[in-house]
């Protein structure tokens, strides 16, 4: 029986709960020393003077790196810049300060305590320049970034004037979302160790090969000289998709002191120099005819970036394809602020974009008097209206139906403030969820060992999502091995290359490669057996052969069989090895590929105090095949939890005078705690998609967060009659 899809426990679960899974910061090397990254405390200007004398004399200190003594890097440290993921880094190449929190020095000492202590002894004088920090006043200087992650920043279809003329109903509103920071449980961490001209990195990353490329290019050395190791990641969420400054600073520090260096960011350092979600202001203007059919849509987005680099939150991209509407414009504009550069954060664009779009659709539902589900069905896109292609598969209709049924949507009285339970105003809201189905080029290697086990390797990553587990399942099925006999390894550039674990593409990219490599190895093993004069299988036709549960056997005569180990043993004990790779073909040109879902939420808002609870979230998704029902469920739950967080809690609070975040810690940067999360009910509808990839899987890492913000905001409106268009929806907005 196939194990792929089964709700198996994580193969690395026991290691993790026993503390035996070693994360980047937990490696320890002989003679290793510690580095602390020192950051600017003002937002714009330059370092006029930096007095390192006290720090250098401090006990245990080996070196203090500043712009005055840091090694000059080729091309000013900019050789690896490759937008949007290859970042402009702060590598002590000049004295310019562009944001509060920018790395400006590194202190290296025998112990972490010595390094922290010495870091406080630096005396830094700045020459201050006026800083641009206020999004509200700076936004009038918005400019087009040209491209937004491969797409045009602006889009236009149909005839907007015609669409407006045809519109019986119109809604127009502005929605805002705040800056947020990823805050995975594992902070960014790098250990850098030079051995001659060879460099080994232990790095908390979503992309070992990307780190290798960035480091090698920045230093001007060959990629073969660099090895990056990352067996476990304690959450990345996009924040670890790029190699940030601290990675190179650790490398430079290790070279400076001639010893391995460990550099781990402290929690407050996660707010600024390693990206986050930018502020967005989104204007939605919708028009619909008497039947509720959209005749016109406009979605204009302004988001902030830094002064060192353009990075755009692509919030309006989703609007281009989600509903059938002939006349539409979308636009993205950027505003430069003296802040660290923003970056990919779980469903960048879709998380914020679906909040605004789905709120606007709810406002249109009230305007037209059409039920929100029905309104979405009337505007159901049978084809991708942006790319003008068929969808490779789309089960959104089923999602609406199943979600509505499980939620009890028909019991909803649509009038705002019509439902109450004691002091709680009760509201129900819904929204559409969606995320693109991506696939990258990936490779894997399989080694069938003489002891009957299989070693499967790919230079991918497991962000805590279950990559180890699902790849083990895929390999076991493709090989015909029992799952206990399959060992999957990842997180090492010594393995065949795999893409960044971002864009929800790991399963869709790596699983086909693992399967291809496994099938190749399996076929080699069968050929070996068939050619082996001592094998009981000799003479059977190749197509009649199978491997099941670790036994080679004849399909026709199950008594003709032998264990895989026996074949390898007679072959001199040499492992059977095969490579496999996989990448998207022409199907992407023919089809538009997306996952879809429907999210229904119930919220309770205290009528006097404004406190909000979310007792229920019901969601249904069409996401192709699942490789593991259990880890998939956890992924979707995790996404919904973050959606609740986006709606109600998260905001990085900026002091507009200092350009510094005032809640840069986990006590005051609020994410949900267990008490905030009640019932989450998820259904994955059956969906066969032969086009997305050979396993028919769509990524599930990000779709869970999409739609939730809108569904909650809509439920809050239904409960209270108040339309909160500014996230997070906190209680003070009701007082």
């Amino acid at each position: 029986m196939s194990v792929t899809g089964q709700p198996l426990n994580r193969v690395d679960g026991e290691l993790k709960v026993c503390g035996k899974a070693r994360y980047a910061a937990e490696f320890s090397l002989p003679r290793m020393v510690y580095a602390v990254m020192v950051q600017s405390t003002m937002p714009n200007g330059r370092v006029k003077k930096i007095d390192t004398s006290f720090a250098e004399k401090s006990r245990g200190v080996l070196s203090v790196l500043t712009h005055l003594n840091a090694p000059k890097l080729p091309d000013g440290g900019k050789a690896a810049i490759d937008p949007p993921a290859g970042r402009v880094l702060s590598l002590l190449q000049d004295n310019q300060v562009h944001y509060n929190g920018q790395p400006i020095a590194v202190v290296i000492a025998e112990t972490l305590e010595h390094a922290i202590d010495a870091a406080r002894m630096l005396r830094i004088d700045y020459e201050r320049a006026p800083a641009t920090l206020n999004f509200a006043t700076a936004k009038s200087h918005g400019y087009s970034p040209g491209k937004v992650q491969g797409s045009e920043a602006d889009s236009h279809r149909g005839d907007m004037d015609l669409g407006l003329r045809e519109a019986t109903f119109r809604v127009s509103a502005t929605y805002t979302t705040p800056m947020e920071h990823h805050n995975p449980i594992e902070p960014h961490a790098t250990i850098a160790a030079w051995d001659g001209d060879r460099l080994t990195l232990y790095d908390a990353t979503q992309y070992v090969s990307g780190v290798r490329r960035t480091v090698a290019k920045t230093l001007g050395i060959s990629e073969e000289k660099v090895r990056v190791v990352c067996p476990y990641v304690g959450g990345g969420f996009g924040g670890k998709g790029s190699a940030w400054s601290h990675v190179l600073l650790a490398v430079m520090a290790a070279r400076q002191v001639g010893r391995p260096v460990k550099l781990v960011l402290e929690r407050p350092q996660m707010f600024g120099p390693v990206g986050g979600r930018p502020t967005t202001e989104q204007v939605l203007a919708l028009g619909a005819n008497r039947d509720g059919r959209l005749t016109t849509m406009h979605h204009g987005v302004i988001s902030n970036t830094s002064f060192i680099e353009d990075w755009t939150e692509p919030s309006a991209i989703v609007t281009r394809m989600l509903y059938a509407c002939p006349n539409q414009t979308t636009s993205h504009r950027l505003v430069k602020l003296n802040l660290g550069t923003p970056t990919f954060q779980r469903a960048p664009g879709e998380a914020t974009g679906t909040y605004a779009l789905e709120c606007a659709m709810d406002e249109l539902a009230y305007e037209t008097g059409i039920d929100p589900v029905e309104l979405r069905l009337r505007n159901y896109a049978e084809r991708d209206p942006d790319k003008n292609k068929p969808f490779s598969s789309k089960s959104l209709r089923e999602c609406y139906q199943i979600g509505a049924e499980r939620f009890g949507w028909s019991r909803r009285d649509s009038r705002p403030r019509s439902m109450q339970d004691g002091n709680w105003l009760v509201g129900m809201g819904m929204a559409t969820a969606t995320y693109p189905t991506n696939r990258g080029k990936a490779a894997a290697r399989v080694r069938l060992m003489p002891d009957g086990t299989a070693l499967v390797q790919s230079g991918s990553q497991d962000l805590g999502t279950g990559t180890y587990t699902v790849m083990t399942q895929v390999a076991a099925d493709a090989l015909g091995y029992p799952i206990q006999q399959v060992h999957f390894e990842l997180g090492d550039t010594a393995f065949p290359e795999a893409p960044v674990s971002g864009g929800s593409q790991t399963a869709a990219s790596v699983a086909p490669a693992v399967r291809a490599a496994s099938i190749a190895a399996r076929n080699q093993l069968i050929d070996l057996a068939l050619a082996d004069t001592e094998s009981p299988l000799r003479g059977i036709r190749r197509e009649d052969m199978t491997i099941e549960n670790g036994w080679l056997q004849s399909r026709a005569d199950k008594t003709k069989r032998e264990p895989v180990a026996a074949v390898i043993a007679r072959n001199g004990g040499r492992p059977v090895e095969a490579l496999g790779d996989s990448e998207a073909g022409d199907e992407k040109k023919k089809y538009s590929m997306h996952a879809f879902g429907a999210v229904f939420t119930e919220v309770h808002v205290d009528k006097d105090l404004g406190t909000i609870r979310v007792p229920r979230v019901v969601a249904a998704y069409g996401v192709g095949n699942l490789l593991n029902e259990k880890t998939a469920h956890s992924q979707l739950v995790g996404g919904i939890v973050w959606g609740i967080s986006l709606a109600l809690f998260e905001k990085s609070e900026l002091d507009l005078r200092y350009g510094r975040f005032v809640n840069a810690n986990l006590a005051e940067y609020h994410i949900p705690v267990n008490a905030d999360i009640r019932q989450i009910d998820i259904t994955v509808v059956p969906e066969q998609d032969p086009h997305v990839n050979p396993l028919g899987v769509k990524g599930i890492g990000e779709i869970g967060i999409t739609g939730v913000g809108g569904a909650i905001a809509n439920a809050v409106y239904h409960a209270t009659g108040r339309r909160i268009r500014d996230l997070p929806i906190t209680l003070d907005k009701f007082i």
């Binding site: 609870r613 003070d732 007082i735």
Partner: protein
């Protein structure tokens, strides 16, 4: 380098003796102090560990009051039968604070001494904080002040006291017993914490070297009608935007005595005797509750980001009184 010595005291006498040197600080559970040291906010030269002193009992005194040893853990106090039965308000307040893990570590004495969560106090990269660096200014006045005081603040400091326990202690008229090397004294809870005035660096009226040894709770008639309401941004593990300790002594449907204290709104638990007086002799109804709510925030002065707190405090008082009186 900021080296410090660490000594474990074996008795209260020894502790106060050890604390006679400049730069000494007591450490109990360390749930707040260690963070402050790591953040470079506090710089003790000598840490006197008092967490193992035999002062962790909760016991009844001959006059019927209850004494809580200063080293009693927050979770032990919250779950102690004497506290649950006679002072459920205190139990409720304690359990609404922090997380289970922190409550297991934090002591009653330490809770009284916990420092404000003002972000400008905590992050030393902000150059202006009169509480941290007297005379440097107050960044919060015109900064991000959503969590800050609306009552009793000064132009030197608008920080709030973050404790839930202290708010309940205020409503319960607790007394703090402290000792030094030469004397022992009691301080009424109302006088324990200070308003910031011109010297916000002092959170309390403790003298240097004084050690909290116990908290005494007088006999209370509030046990049947009390409620601690904590209004915050998430369901647990968040500091109060506003909290209310409401306690009533009811005779049939008339209020015989009342106590009200607000948390999250001032540099200390906020009481307004006039608000309580407005309730005494009245029936608990919308009018009497609203009158008390209006009175307790009289003179409130909000700042840019915490204007909502004034009305929120009023509504919270009404809700807490309703809950205490069993009318909601």
């Amino acid at each position: 380098m900021n080296p410090f010595s660490y000594q474990r005291a074996n008795s209260a006498e020894e502790a106060v003796h050890l604390a006679e040197v400049p730069g000494a600080m007591f450490i109990g559970g360390g749930t707040n102090l260690l963070d402050l040291i790591k953040g470079g906010v506090e710089h003790p030269q000598h840490l006197i560990d008092v967490s193992r002193l035999k002062m962790a009992d909760v016991s009844e005194l001959p006059d019927g009051s209850v004494r809580i040893g200063a080293m009693a853990r927050n979770s032990d106090v919250a779950n102690h039968p004497l506290i649950r039965q006679r002072y459920p308000l205190l139990s409720q307040a304690l359990l609404s604070g922090a997380s289970a893990q922190l409550r297991n570590m934090a002591t009653v004495g330490g809770n009284l001494m916990q420092r404000t969560r003002c972000c400008y106090f905590y992050d030393t990269a902000f150059d202006k904080c009169n509480k941290r660096v007297p005379g440097s200014g107050c960044s919060a006045l015109e900064g991000h002040n959503r969590m800050h005081a609306i009552l009793g603040a000064s132009d030197q400091c608008i920080a709030t006291n973050p404790s839930d326990m202290s708010v309940a202690l205020a409503a319960l008229n607790a007394t703090v017993r402290v000792r030094s090397a030469i004397s022992e004294r009691t301080i009424h809870i109302d006088n324990f914490h200070r308003l910031p005035g011109e010297t916000p660096e002092h959170d309390t009226n403790l003298n240097p070297g004084e050690l909290i040894v116990a908290v005494d709770l007088p006999p209370s008639l509030f046990a049947n009608h009390s409620y601690y309401l904590k209004v915050r941004d998430r369901a647990s593990y968040a500091f109060a935007l506003v909290s209310v300790a409401a306690a009533l002594d009811m005779h049939e449907d008339t209020i015989r005595n009342a106590a009200l204290a607000l948390g999250g709104v001032a540099h200390k638990p906020w009481r307004m005797p006039g608000a309580e007086a407005l309730l005494v002799g009245q029936k608990l109804n919308a009018a009497s509750m609203q009158a008390a709510a209006d009175e307790i925030v009289r003179g409130a002065h909000p700042y840019e980001h915490n204007r909502f707190k004034v009305e929120l405090a009023r509504r919270s008082v009404v809700r807490a009184l309703s809950k205490a009186g069993g009318v909601a």
